[in-house]
């Protein structure tokens, strides 16, 4: 249930994804230059980062079955 990766080469350091992520998953790296996936466990797969990224540098994968607690199953 996580964002897959952010392509460092494509990332233009605009920080929009850091602001856009409602879950504080994405932050800037230690050098404050590129966006990184800091807290992947909290990704809720809304896809807002992916939609907003002008460079299409962010990849969110949905084809996975995370260990979930569900109402039944």
């Amino acid at each position: 249930m996580t964002i897959d990766r952010i392509d460092r080469d494509l990332c233009n350091s605009c920080r929009l994804c850091v602001f856009t992520c409602p879950m504080d998953v994405i932050r800037m790296d230690a050098d404050n230059v590129k966006a990184i996936i800091a807290y992947p466990d909290d990704c809720m797969l809304c896809g807002l980062c992916m939609v907003d990224c002008e460079k299409n540098a962010i990849f969110v994968g949905a084809d996975r079955n995370p260990p979930l607690i569900t109402s039944w199953g």
Partner: protein, 555 residues
């Protein structure tokens, strides 16, 4: 303390979805200084980014006022607040015009005609928002009007002086430092309260604002109802958001399944039986099938394939417009002087016990946001503004950072998971029973009293999670207590031990309030003039069937 981390302002708006942006803009237009604080980024907050429709009542489009009112009351099982439903229909066109004036676009067909959307048996036929971009467009307009924005600051406590709200405090997710916002009025626009469920992008809706308000004595209402959304079992964390992006197809999962209301029409149980047909649904049918041992439940896709569904994709959330601070008048004012609420954190009960269609949530947020902003602006004219004593500010700061000072304890992620373990199974909030509600409440009280006070964190990100899980525990407690209190079934509230609607005893709303260390609950009767004709047959009054319900004809 006049620095950028400690601000004085006329009106503080908390939360930046539809409601918060409307409140901020309308208050600013009255000449007030306005700061909007969001733990994320206003315009990308809460449920608003995923809105597709905006319900507009417009006689020029052939809309029938009485038919719409009757529809909402019937589907909402007569516990909608008809004054607020009427307010939505009366003012939604003005808010629609606001959006257009601010640059928000709606979808048009090839001939340039506005596209309307609807689902069988439901009103409204609502205009379709141009997705994804409208939040940013509204935010830009707010900036133009002079609204100040603070991003990535989580507010945790409302400040009061002599019983009047005087602002709020919290911390920055970036530097982890204390923040304070002294204000003459606060507008709470923090949305509903979910429990970070899978399958719906509501993980940041953790009832933070409601919990803040509850702790200073606000009246809260509408907590016993449910948003019974489902998700795909193949892609349980794959949300509605991604389904509707242009990238969705490249990511892999199946095409748009439509909103849950439409999905139900195409669902069958494990025995191949059709589950329901609109109208006459309370959207709990998947849970009812599971309870009877007829899961899995399948959704039939356009190509004839079957995909399994799971329930509880919005667990913890009440129906749009139902939960939150109980407005004391049509001005969106709470019972706490200086505190206003709008959107899904204002319990206007526009729609009642079951969501009746599409676009009501976004339009209600716009209508109440505008009203709350104007009300707050009017309120502060007579308020000189109070200075928060330094010692009081220090107390707030100390409390906020307690989890960072601990050297041992529990992590917020773990506490969130065990809270979910207790609350997610269908047999707690969807197929309710007094015994199970009481048993779960016992565990939630233990989490509240023993685990939450021992949370320990090491960074601002986890401090946010710690405060969020406290809010979620509060939210769980409210839902369990109000569900126990309403000893009947109605709409999305189903009690296995009380499977029938109980008129007229429960043509009422449930309010709750903090009373010392206790949570006090009481009924607010619905005016008799809004009651349905109770001489009608039960099955005619209530089209949605509840398991175990015995019809009058059979009695």
């Amino acid at each position: 303390m006049a620095d950028k981390n400690h601000i004085k302002v006329d009106i503080l708006v908390i939360g930046g979805g539809f409601a918060g942006l409307f409140a901020a803009i309308k208050a600013r237009e009255q000449g007030c200084s306005v700061t909007l604080v969001d733990k994320g980024y206003a315009g990308k907050s809460g449920s608003s980014p995923y809105a597709g429709h905006f319900a507009v009542f417009n006689p020029d489009w052939g809309h029938d006022f009485d038919a719409w009112m009757d529809h909402v009351s019937t589907i909402g099982e007569y516990v909608n607040n008809r004054d607020w439903t009427e307010m939505l229909f009366t003012e939604s066109l003005d808010r629609y015009h606001d959006l257009i004036e601010w640059g928000v676009e709606f979808e048009h067909d090839d001939k340039g005609e506005l596209i309307f959307d609807t689902y069988e048996g439901m009103v409204p036929n609502a205009p379709l928002l141009k997705r994804w971009v409208f939040g940013t467009v509204i935010r830009k307009h707010a900036v133009r009007t002079g609204v100040k924005f603070v991003n990535r600051v989580m507010l945790t406590d409302l400040m009061t002086v002599d019983g009047t709200v005087s602002g709020a405090v919290g911390f920055s997710l970036d530097d982890g430092e204390f923040r304070s916002y002294q204000a003459k009025a606060v507008v709470m626009c923090t949305g509903g309260g979910a429990l970070k469920p899978q399958g719906w992008p509501v993980s940041e809706l953790t009832a933070d604002g409601e919990y803040m308000a509850y702790r200073i004595g606000a009246e809260i209402s509408g907590k016993e109802f449910n948003e019974p959304k489902s998700a795909s079992v193949d892609y349980p964390a794959y949300t509605m958001g991604m389904e509707w992006t242009e990238y969705g197809a490249s990511v892999g999962p199946p095409p748009d399944l439509g909103p849950p209301q439409a999905q139900l029409v195409k669902c069958i149980n494990s025995e191949g039986e059709e589950i329901t047909n609109r109208p006459g649904s309370n959207f709990l049918e998947l849970e009812f099938e599971a309870h009877q041992g007829r899961a899995p439940v399948y959704y039939r896709t356009e190509d004839g394939g079957l995909t399994k569904r799971i329930g509880g994709a919005a667990t913890g959330l009440s129906v749009h417009t139902t939960e939150g601070l109980a407005p004391q008048s049509m001005n969106c004012d709470s019972n706490i002087p200086g505190l206003f609420a709008a959107g899904d954190s204002c319990s206007t009960m526009v729609v009642g016990a079951t969501y009746p269609g599409i676009g009501y949530g976004s339009a209600s947020a716009a209508v109440t946001g505008a009203r709350a902003g104007l009300s707050a602006a009017a309120f502060i004219k007579d308020v000189p503004g109070t200075k928060i004593p330094a010692a009081q500010l220090k107390d707030y700061e100390t409390q906020i950072f307690v989890p960072t000072k601990r050297t041992g304890g529990f992590g917020p992620q773990w506490l969130t998971q065990i809270l979910q373990n207790a609350m997610f199974p269908y047999y707690v909030l969807f197929v309710k029973h007094g015994d199970r509600l009481q048993a779960t409440l016992t565990m939630v009280e233990f989490m509240r009293d023993h685990l939450a006070p021992q949370l320990m964190v090491e960074n601002p990100h986890d401090l946010r999670l710690a405060h969020e899980v406290r809010s979620m525990i509060y939210n769980a407690e409210t839902k369990l207590r109000t569900s126990l209190f309403r000893e009947e079934s109605r709409g999305t509230h189903y009690r296995e031990d009380f499977p029938r609607r109980d008129d007229p005893d429960w043509l009422a709303w449930i309010s709750l309030q903090r009373d010392g260390d206790q949570m006090k609950l009481w009924k607010r009767p619905i005016p008799e003039k809004w009651w349905p004709d109770l001489s009608q047959p039960y099955e005619k009054l209530y089209e949605a069937r509840m398991p175990g319900e015995v019809s009058e004809a059979a009695e």
